[in-house]
C-alpha cells in the first residue's frame, strides 16, 4: 500500500497549486458547480416558465430545448461546446468557460423540469384565487405562485446541485484542472498507487455530496409543513 502518495498530494487534491499557482482540485470542482447551478437556475426558471406558457412561440422553443438536452449525454454536450465553439465563434474558448457553458445549458434543462413540476404541483386554487382577487397573470405568478413553489423546489435544487457536483468530474476530459484531473495527473506521475488515489477521490466526492444530500432530506421534511394543500 502506498498511502503516502495520497498524503503527500493532499493539498494538490484539495486546492491545486493555489497560493503559488492556479487554483485546482476540489476547490475548482466546487467553484464550477456553484457557478453552474447559479446560471442554470436562471436559465431553467426561464425555460420552465416558457414551457408552461400558453403562447406557442414561448412554449415550443422551451419544449425543444428541454427534450433535446435531456436526451443527450452530458459528455456529448461538453464536446459540442468545446469542439464547435471555434467553428461558430471563430476563436477557441478556454476550457473552463466552455465546460461551464456546457454545464449551464445541460443543467438548465433539468432545472426547467423541476420548475415546471413545482408550479404544476401547487393546488389550482392558488392561481384562481390570485386571479380572482384582481392580480394579473404575471402578478399572480410573481407574488403568489413562484414564492410558494420555488420554496418547495429547494430540495430538488439541492439534489440537482449534487448531480452537478458529480458531473463536474467530466470537465476533466477537456482539460479543466479540477479534482478528477488532479487525481489522474498524480496517478500518471507516481504510477504505483492508482487504487489509493482513486479511492481517496471517491471519498472526497462522497463527503461533499453526502453532506448536501442529507441537508436536502432534512430541508424536505422541514418544508413539508408549510405546503399549501388542496
Amino acid at each position: 500500500m502506498h498511502w503516502q502518495v495520497v498524503w503527500d498530494n493532499m493539498d494538490y487534491f484539495l486546492w491545486g497549486a493555489f497560493p503559488e499557482g492556479a487554483l485546482g482540485g476540489l476547490a475548482m470542482s466546487i467553484i464550477l458547480a456553484l457557478l453552474g447551478i447559479f446560471f442554470a437556475f436562471w436559465l431553467g426558471l426561464a425555460a420552465g416558465l416558457m414551457r408552461l406558457s400558453g403562447r406557442w412561440w414561448l412554449h415550443y422553443p422551451a419544449l425543444v430545448y428541454v427534450e433535446i438536452i435531456r436526451g443527450v449525454p452530458l459528455l456529448m454536450c461538453i464536446f459540442w461546446f468545446y469542439f464547435l465553439a471555434p467553428v461558430v465563434l471563430g476563436h477557441t474558448m478556454p476550457e473552463f468557460q466552455s465546460a461551464l457553458v456546457a454545464f449551464v445549458v445541460f443543467t438548465g434543462a433539468y432545472v426547467a423540469e423541476i420548475v415546471r413540476a413545482g408550479v404544476l404541483a401547487l393546488p389550482k386554487g392558488q392561481m384562481e384565487a390570485a386571479r380572482g382577487s384582481g392580480l394579473s397573470h404575471v402578478q399572480a405568478m410573481c407574488f403568489v405562485i413562484l414564492p410558494q413553489s420555488l420554496r418547495n423546489m429547494i430540495p430538488s435544487f439541492v439534489n440537482q446541485f449534487v448531480s452537478l457536483t458529480k458531473d463536474t468530474s467530466l470537465a476533466y476530459i477537456i482539460g479543466v484542472n479540477e479534482l478528477t484531473r488532479a487525481a489522474t495527473q498524480v496517478n500518471n506521475r507516481t504510477m504505483n498507487a492508482p487504487m489509493e488515489i482513486f479511492l481517496t477521490m471517491l471519498v472526497l466526492y462522497f463527503i461533499v455530496c453526502y453532506v448536501l444530500t442529507s441537508f436536502s432530506r432534512r430541508l424536505e421534511r422541514h418544508l413539508a409543513r408549510y405546503q399549501a394543500r388542496n
Partner: protein, 233 residues
C-alpha cells in the same frame, strides 16, 4: 464561419462504419449492464428489507456511497485501481480478454444498481401496509403475499422510473470512452481527430443518442397511458 460541411464523410464509407460500430458497442454495453444492474439492484433492495441489521447497513452504505460519487471516478477506480486487489490469475484472464469492456460494465452496473435499488424500495413501500396484512389474513404465506399481491402492484409503479434509469444508463455509457471502450462517443471523437469534421460526426452521434432517448421516453408515455390508470387506492 468558414467551415466546409461534408456530410458524405460520416454518412458513407469508412467513417460511417466507425460510427455504426460505436453504436453497436454502446447498445451492447448498455444491454449487458442493464440486465446486471437490475439483478444487483434487486439484491440490494431485498437486503435492505430483511430484518438482519448488518445486511441493512451494508445495503444502505452501498446505495449511499455509489449514488454520491461520480461515475467517472468509479470507472477509473475499477479500471486503474482494481487490479491491485484482484488475484494474479483473474488479472491475467481479464487482460487476455476485453479488460476495458469488463471495467465499463462493472462501473455502469454498480452505479446504476444503487439507483435501481432505491426505486424498487420506493415502489414496494408505496403499497399500503394493510395490503400485506390482508393477504396474510386470507391465508397466503409471506412469499405468496409478495408474489401475488405486493409485487404485481409494485412493479406497475416501479416500471416507469426503472425505464428512465435504463435511459440514464445508456446516456452514462458515453463515459466508458475515457477508459478506452470504443463506443459511440469515442468513435465520434475519433472521426473528429482524423478528419477535423467534428460538426458532422457529433451531429450524427447526437441524433443517434436522441433517437434512443425519444423511443424510450415514448415507451414510458405509452405505458403510463395504458397501465398507470389502473393503480388507484
Amino acid at each position: 464561419m468558414n467551415y466546409q460541411f461534408n456530410w458524405q464523410l460520416v454518412l458513407k464509407g469508412e467513417y460511417a462504419d466507425w460510427i455504426v460500430k460505436g453504436l453497436v458497442v454502446t447498445l451492447k454495453i448498455s444491454a449487458v449492464s442493464i440486465v446486471l444492474a437490475l439483478l444487483m439492484g434487486t439484491v440490494v433492495a431485498v437486503l435492505r428489507m430483511t430484518r438482519i441489521r448488518p445486511l441493512q447497513w451494508l445495503s444502505l452504505a452501498y446505495t449511499e456511497f455509489f449514488r454520491n460519487t461520480p461515475l467517472l471516478v468509479q470507472l477509473f477506480f475499477w479500471y486503474f485501481g482494481c487490479n491491485v486487489i484482484l488475484p494474479e490469475a483473474v488479472n491475467k484472464w481479464l487482460y487476455a480478454h476485453d479488460y476495458e469492456f469488463a471495467s465499463g460494465v462493472i462501473g455502469l452496473t454498480v452505479y446504476t444498481s444503487a439507483f435501481i435499488a432505491e426505486e424498487i424500495r420506493a415502489g414496494i413501500f408505496s403499497i399500503p401496509r394493510n395490503q400485506i396484512e390482508a393477504s396474510r389474513a386470507v391465508g397466503l404465506s409471506f412469499v405468496q403475499a409478495y408474489r401475488y399481491v405486493i409485487l404485481p402492484q409494485a412493479f406497475r409503479i416501479i416500471i416507469p422510473p426503472l425505464i428512465s434509469q435504463f435511459l440514464n444508463l445508456i446516456k452514462n455509457s458515453s463515459l466508458v470512452m475515457t477508459i478506452g471502450v470504443a463506443d459511440l462517443t469515442y468513435m465520434a471523437r475519433q472521426v473528429e481527430s482524423y478528419t477535423f469534421h467534428g460538426f458532422e460526426a457529433f451531429t450524427v452521434s447526437t441524433l443517434l443518442y436522441l433517437g434512443i432517448s425519444l423511443i424510450v421516453s415514448f415507451a414510458i408515455t405509452m405505458y403510463n397511458k395504458h397501465f398507470m390508470l389502473q393503480v388507484k387506492y
